[in-house]
């Protein structure tokens, strides 16, 4: 009788081991932990700059100024003023080189019937095509303004409007 001691005849075991090996390789090789190491950082930096810029625009330069520049801009629909002010604040750096952040700003407000309307406020020199990797920042402002679709006297007085800005880099 043939002694089976010391024989490697469990070929199924070898096959299972190889399958395990291949599976482990595929799984480990195709898995990655998604970290904020890449695009999220750039997004965060843009978001911080945009948020800071809007906050700074909504602060009056001194105690005698009744309104902030942002309130005045929204109330008067002063698109060139927004473009100049936002561009200067968002792109200013301590060095001699300026940043080149592009933006598109809109004002959102609630109509008397409860629906929300959005009107363009300003944009940078390069228009937004929709393919840019843009971040969105917003700022609520209180304005004394009669919006276009507001014909009744009840629309007088202060309103909350949401200034929304999309920012991106080329």
């Amino acid at each position: 009788m043939v002694n089976t001691g010391g024989q490697l005849y469990t070929i199924e075991g070898i096959a299972a081991g190889l399958i395990l090996l291949v599976t482990a390789f595929i799984v480990v090789n195709s898995t990655s932990v998604y970290t904020p190491g890449d695009s999220h950082l750039n997004d965060m930096q843009l978001e911080v700059i945009g948020t800071d810029a809007l906050v700074m625009m909504d602060i009056a330069p001194n105690s005698t100024a009744a309104k902030s520049p942002l309130q005045t801009i929204v109330e008067t629909d002063d698109s060139p003023a927004f473009t100049t002010l936002f561009r200067d604040i968002a792109n200013f750096k301590t060095g001699s080189l300026r940043d080149d952040i592009q933006f598109l700003a809109t004002v959102n407000y609630v109509r008397p019937d409860g629906t929300i309307n959005s009107t363009p406020l300003s944009s940078s020199s390069r228009s937004f095509t929709g393919t840019e990797h843009a971040v969105r920042v917003t700022k609520w402002v209180l304005v004394e303004k009669k919006f276009p679709d507001c014909s009744a006297l009840s629309c007088q007085g202060k309103h909350a409007a949401l200034v929304e800005v999309l920012l991106w880099r080329d």
Partner: protein
């Protein structure tokens, strides 16, 4: 029969070998899974952001053994944490005094004084912090030259500049500070209604005049217009600012009490027309202009509800001539009226933090 005691099965050896190979291989691949987390860039950017938040949104803190904000502490060991914000309620609005102190290279040394007070962490980060106002060439900066691959954040801020009073020829004439009555001495009084300044119409710390922590500057010019002939000839007359006294009157009270400044402040700065900054109290000759500069903290111990008076006493030769005074008129009020005092104002700036 063959004795197989102490023999190891080939099956077992093969299986165990395959297991070991797979185990080692998989274990060797694990660090690659976290390559993103190991990135220094992520850490540097996070530290840069944290540092910017501390600088821009926090007013900083002094040690527990001292009173007053960190920027008026003379000993840097009494400073627990840097922070440039004017107050907790006004993020992104930096205080000019804090900015000047923070970037003062003689007061603090890089990096040892900064790391434990604004960068934090066990790792010995190097960094560069810079600040610049719009329209200005000057750049405040502290730190190393930037290498490749550093963490970075930029914050848009405003710098709050303090107030100052200018008492010039037009104010002297309009307010009657060239009093023509026969005054026996020449005294000029400046008052600070502390309660009105701190609890009046202006409550936003960004615009508020806080004499306790602000640098107070009072410029008096054109004093010689208060003289009459025959004394407008230079050299024919002499006047000295002989003394400056401080008083306070309690809220709703009538009695005046002398108020001594803290000993470390008792020599404050004055600037005469033709000389550089000097320290009082030595009596000094007044030519035409006088500037009084009280450093932040000078009035820190003043009662916040009292009215404070600064009395300037002039000595004249010859005596009893008409000269600059408001003895028969009201004290000059350091308040929120733009005609009296140039109000605090905010100016755009940008702060950049780089960490590596």
């Amino acid at each position: 029969m063959t004795d197989d005691d102490a023999m190891m099965s080939v099956d077992f050896i093969t299986g165990f070998t395959i297991f070991l190979i797979v185990f080692i291989w998989v274990a060797a691949m694990v660090p690659g899974l976290f390559i993103g987390l190991k990135s220094h860039t992520v850490d540097y950017d996070a530290v840069a952001y944290r540092t910017s938040v501390i600088l821009v949104e926090d007013p900083g803190a002094a040690g527990t053994s001292v009173t007053g904000p960190w920027e008026i502490q003379e000993d840097k060991r009494d400073i627990a944490r840097f922070g440039l914000a004017r107050s907790k309620e006004t993020p992104n609005i930096l205080d000019e005094r804090k900015v000047n102190r923070f970037f003062c290279s003689t007061a603090f040394s890089y990096p040892d004084d900064y790391r434990p007070r604004v960068i934090f962490g066990d790792y010995q980060y190097r960094f560069n912090i810079s600040l610049r106002e719009t329209g200005e060439d000057r750049i405040w900066s502290v730190g190393d030259v930037l290498p490749a691959g550093y963490g970075y954040i930029r914050r848009d801020v405003k710098i709050r500049h303090g107030s100052h009073a200018l008492i010039n020829e037009s104010i002297i004439k309009v307010r009657g500070y060239n009093n023509t009555e026969d005054v026996q001495g020449s005294e000029f009084v400046i008052q600070f209604d502390n309660k009105a300044l701190l609890e009046g119409d202006v409550t936003n710390p960004a615009y508020q005049i806080d004499y306790r922590t602000d640098r107070i500057i009072i410029n008096i010019t054109d004093i010689n217009v208060t003289r009459f002939d025959p004394y407008p000839v230079p050299g024919a007359e002499e006047s000295k600012l002989a003394a400056i006294h401080f008083y306070q009157r309690p809220y709703a009270g009538t009695s005046l009490a002398s108020w001594p400044p803290l000993k470390k402040y008792e020599n404050f700065t004055f600037i005469d027309e033709n000389s550089s900054a000097t320290l009082l109290p030595p009596s000094f000759t007044v030519r035409n202009n006088v500037s009084l500069i009280f450093e932040p903290g000078f009035f820190a111990t003043m009662d916040p509800t009292a009215t404070m008076f600064i009395n300037l006493t002039f000595e004249l030769t010859p005596a009893k001539q008409h000269y600059f005074n408001n003895t028969r008129t009201a004290p000059f009020d350091y308040n929120y009226m733009a005609s009296n005092v140039t109000q605090p104002y905010l100016k755009d700036a940008v702060l950049e933090v780089a960490v590596w």
